[in-house]
C-alpha cells in the first residue's frame, strides 16, 4: 500500500476523483483490507452529510417512480454472464491474471508427475492452458454453486478451445467420476475430471462450435455416452 494511493480514500468516498483514478483506486481497494475498512467508515460518514441536506421531493415524483418500476426488470442477486461480458478491460485483465494464477496452482496440484513422460505431458498441458489464456479473444467466466464449488471457464472461439478449472470440488463418490460436457444442439463429452485436493482442470482443444454452456455431471466410472444425472455445475459459455 503506497501512502499516496491510500490518501485517496477521502477523495474517492466523496466521488472527487476522475474515472481513471476511481478504477485505479478500486483495483487497489480489492487488495487492501485496511483501505476497504476506511472506505466503509468514510462512506458512512459522507452519508451523514448527505442526510443533513434532506429535502422532500415534489409529491408527484413518487407516482412517476411507482409507475416506472413496472417497466424496469430487476437484476438477479448474482452477477449474470452479461455483466461479466460487459466488464471493463481492466477488470478482464485482472480476471485473466487471477485465472493464470489458478492455472499455475491447479497445474501444480494436478500435475504430479511420476515419470519423465508424465512430466512432459504436464508441461504441455500448462503450455496449452497459458496459450489459451493469452488468446486475443479469450473470455472468462467465474461462478460458484451454493455448496461452494468454484468454477472458472476460459473460452477462445478463435482457437476453438475451452478450459474448465474447478476448485473446492469434492472427490467423486466411490465408483463414480466427474464428466464434463459441452452443451449446444446436443451434449458432447470433453472428458473426465478427477479433482486432486479439490482442484481440477480440463481443457478441450476440439472445436467448440455451437456450444453455449459447459456442465459437469457425476457418471459411473469410465464415463457415459450421454449425461445420466443432473449437472453438479453448469456455466454459460461467454460468446
Amino acid at each position: 500500500m503506497t501512502p499516496d494511493i491510500h490518501a485517496l480514500t477521502g477523495a474517492y468516498v466523496l466521488n472527487a476523483v476522475t474515472e481513471t483514478e476511481r478504477a485505479d483506486f478500486e483495483r487497489h481497494l480489492a487488495e487492501c483490507g485496511a483501505c476497504a475498512e476506511e472506505v466503509r467508515e468514510l462512506e458512512a460518514t459522507a452519508t451523514r452529510l448527505g442526510e443533513a441536506a434532506a429535502a422532500g421531493p415534489p409529491a408527484a415524483l413518487k407516482a412517476a417512480v411507482m409507475a416506472r418500476i413496472g417497466e424496469v426488470r430487476q437484476l438477479p442477486p448474482v452477477r449474470d454472464e452479461l455483466a461479466v461480458r460487459r466488464k471493463r478491460w481492466s477488470t478482464r485483465i485482472l480476471g485473466m491474471a487471477a485465472a493464470a494464477l489458478l492455472v499455475v496452482s491447479v497445474a501444480l496440484g494436478v500435475v504430479t508427475a511420476q515419470s519423465r513422460q508424465e512430466l512432459d505431458a504436464g508441461r504441455q498441458q500448462v503450455a496449452a492452458m497459458s496459450a489459451l489464456l493469452a488468446a486475443e479473444d479469450a473470455r472468462l467466466v467465474n461462478g460458484s454453486t451454493p455448496d461452494g464449488l468454484v468454477g472458472t471457464v476460459v473460452v477462445s472461439r478463435k482457437r476453438g478451445e475451452v478450459m474448465l478449472l474447478a476448485d473446492k470440488m469434492p472427490a467423486a463418490p466411490q465408483g463414480k467420476t466427474y464428466q464434463v460436457w459441452l452443451i449446444g444442439e446436443d451434449k458432447r463429452s470433453i472428458g473426465l475430471m478427477a479433482p486432486d485436493n479439490g482442484r481440477a482442470a480440463l481443457m478441450a482443444a476440439s472445436a467448440i462450435q455451437d456450444a453455449v454452456a459447459i456442465g459437469v455431471t457425476v457418471e459411473p466410472a469410465g464415463g457415459s455416452d450421454q449425461p445420466t444425472t443432473d449437472p453438479v455445475m453448469a456455466m454459460t459459455l461467454p460468446t
Binding site: 477521502g10 468516498v13 452519508t47 429535502a55 415524483l61 424496469v72 437484476l75
Partner: protein, 198 residues
C-alpha cells in the same frame, strides 16, 4: 442505524419508526412493490435533498432522483449488507449519480468553465452558509464546524458541489496533495466527531 433513527426522529414514538432500509431492500429485491413504496418514503427526501444540493436545477434534480430510485429497484438484490448500511448504499449511489450529471453537463462547457473558475472568487462562503442554514441535524453542523477551514471547505466543495479534488485544489489555490490529504483527514475527523461505527 436504528439508534440513529430514533435519535433523529426524537419525539416520534418507537412504534412509528420507519422500517429499516436494509430490510425493505431485501423485500424490494423479491419484487415487492409495497416495500419499494415504503423505501421511497424513507429515502426520497435524503436522496432528493442531496441531489438538489449538487445539481441545483429542480427539474434535473427530479430526473436524477427518479434515476436513483429506479436503480434501487433494479439492483436491490445486489445490495451487500457486509459492505455497509443500506442508507449508505443508497446515498453513495445518489451522490455518484448527481456528480455524474453535473460532470457530463460540465464537460460540454469545460473550456468556458475553466476560464470562469479562474475569474471567480472563492464561492465557498456562500456554500458554507447554505449548508449551515439547511442542515437539519445539529450534530452534523457542529462536527463540520470542528474541522479546520481548509478541511471543511475541501469536503463541502467536493461533496456538496461535486467537484474533483483537482478542481477543489484549483479553486482554493492549494496544492493537489494538500487537498487530497485534507479530504481524508477532514472526513476522518467528521467520522470521529459523529461517532460513526468503526
Amino acid at each position: 442505524m436504528a439508534d440513529r433513527v430514533r435519535r433523529i426522529t426524537g419525539s416520534v414514538p418507537d412504534t412509528e419508526l420507519p422500517p429499516d432500509a436494509g430490510a425493505l431492500l431485501q423485500r424490494v429485491a423479491r419484487g415487492d412493490e409495497q416495500a419499494f413504496s415504503a423505501l421511497y418514503d424513507l429515502v426520497s427526501a435524503p436522496v432528493f435533498g442531496l441531489v438538489r444540493r449538487i445539481v441545483r436545477d429542480p427539474a434535473q434534480s427530479e430526473e436524477v432522483t427518479q434515476e436513483v430510485m429506479l436503480e434501487l429497484w433494479r439492483t436491490a438484490a445486489r445490495y451487500a449488507p457486509d459492505r455497509g448500511s443500506a442508507m449508505t448504499w443508497v446515498m453513495t449511489l445518489a451522490h455518484r449519480r448527481a456528480v455524474d450529471r453535473v460532470r457530463s453537463a460540465q464537460s460540454a462547457t469545460d473550456r468556458e468553465d475553466k476560464a470562469f473558475r479562474r475569474e471567480t472568487t472563492r464561492p465557498f462562503d456562500e456554500v458554507a452558509e447554505q449548508v449551515s442554514t439547511r442542515l437539519e441535524y445539529e450534530q452534523v453542523r457542529r462536527c463540520l464546524a470542528s474541522l479546520t477551514d481548509l478541511q471543511r471547505e475541501s469536503v463541502e466543495l467536493a461533496y456538496y458541489r461535486g467537484l474533483t479534488y483537482k478542481e477543489v485544489s484549483e479553486l482554493l489555490d492549494t496544492p493537489l496533495g494538500t487537498v487530497k490529504t485534507r479530504l481524508r483527514d477532514g472526513l476522518i475527523r467528521l467520522r470521529d466527531c459523529l461517532g460513526v461505527a468503526r
